[in-house]
């Protein structure tokens, strides 16, 4: 990679890191895991920079992040790290009032499996359609639908207060 291309790459990384870090943080729910995910995706993108430079490098990088997050290898590594560190302990929702529902929702989102959380982030934060999510993750639209349904169902189970919210409305 010559100096000109490296300068463009550095400019791209510097400019897009905050937005990409937000997505990585939402996908992982953890600062260190988010940093690791972003670096891993960048490491896969850098060798292809010459061909991606004139196309859509950010789209490619995001797709790598989404797929890396739900990949089998990463899941295995995450399980091993969790067994070693004992991190990601359960957070109990505070039942004191309605304002705590969001805090409980944060905790519930952390407890979702990576595949379900990724689908929720893509659908409700990135505002992608089911077809776009399926393309980004490399799976079928039916898989996206079922994962979304399961994720929402699981959130309802973890947050019984949300049911009360719906009844009040």
């Amino acid at each position: 990679m010559d100096e000109d291309e490296r300068a463009r790459l550095a400019e791209f990384v510097t400019g897009r890191t905050p937005a990409l870090m937000q997505v990585a943080y939402l996908l992982t729910g953890d600062r260190h895991a988010a940093e690791d995910l972003l670096q891993s995706a960048l490491a896969r993108t850098i060798p292809k920079w010459r061909t991606l430079r004139h196309a859509d490098p950010e789209g490619y990088l995001r797709a790598v992040m989404y797929r890396e997050q739900v990949s089998l290898w990463r899941r295995l590594r995450r399980r091993r790290e969790r067994a070693l560190t004992g991190a990601d302990e359960e957070v109990q929702p505070d039942p004191s009032g309605g304002t705590d529902v969001r805090l409980a929702m944060r905790a519930a989102l952390r407890r979702l499996p990576p595949a379900q959380r990724t689908v929720l982030v893509l659908r409700y934060y990135e505002d992608l359609t089911e077809t776009q999510v399926a393309e980004a993750l490399g799976c079928s639209v039916g898989t996206v639908r079922s994962r979304t349904h399961r994720a929402v169902h699981r959130l309802r189970q973890l947050l019984p207060d949300v049911e009360l919210l719906e009844v009040r409305q």
């Binding site: 905050p18 943080y25 972003l38 490491a43 896969r44 060798p47 309802r156 919210l165």
Partner: protein, 154 residues
Amino acid sequence: MTGPIEDLIRATLSDLAEEAPTVQDQLIPAERRARSRQRTTVTLGVAGVAAAVLLGAPIALAASRDDAPPPFAPGSTAIPSPTLPPSPSGPWLITPSDTPTPPPSPSGSWLFTPSGTPTPPPSPSGSWLFTPSGTAGGDRAVGWAAVQSPGPRH
């Protein structure tokens, strides 16, 4: 499909995104990772090729030597066993490993001395000599005698 829970999910994700940590230069560690990945890929590729050669070379050698048919493969013509000469009058020299076969003479009888069955000589160099033991009114042999031929004398 925007119920209260979907709205809550959107709001919570937006809140979480605002709290995302700010990180500085990610390019240098990412480049280091990319080099490491490349090195690992090359190493694994070389190891895979070496393993394939190590496994495949003996198999390829064995396959290349299979051109000649096996000696007793089904369908191949069997090698005929050597037959004794049809002449009944000539002396037969049979080594201990051979099995004597009867001569083609229909009327002749076999006489094995001293016990009827030729036994191998005690010395490995000895051999058995079958000779016609007698004639009955002509040249026809009526019996056969197994006589141990003398071995080499020192």
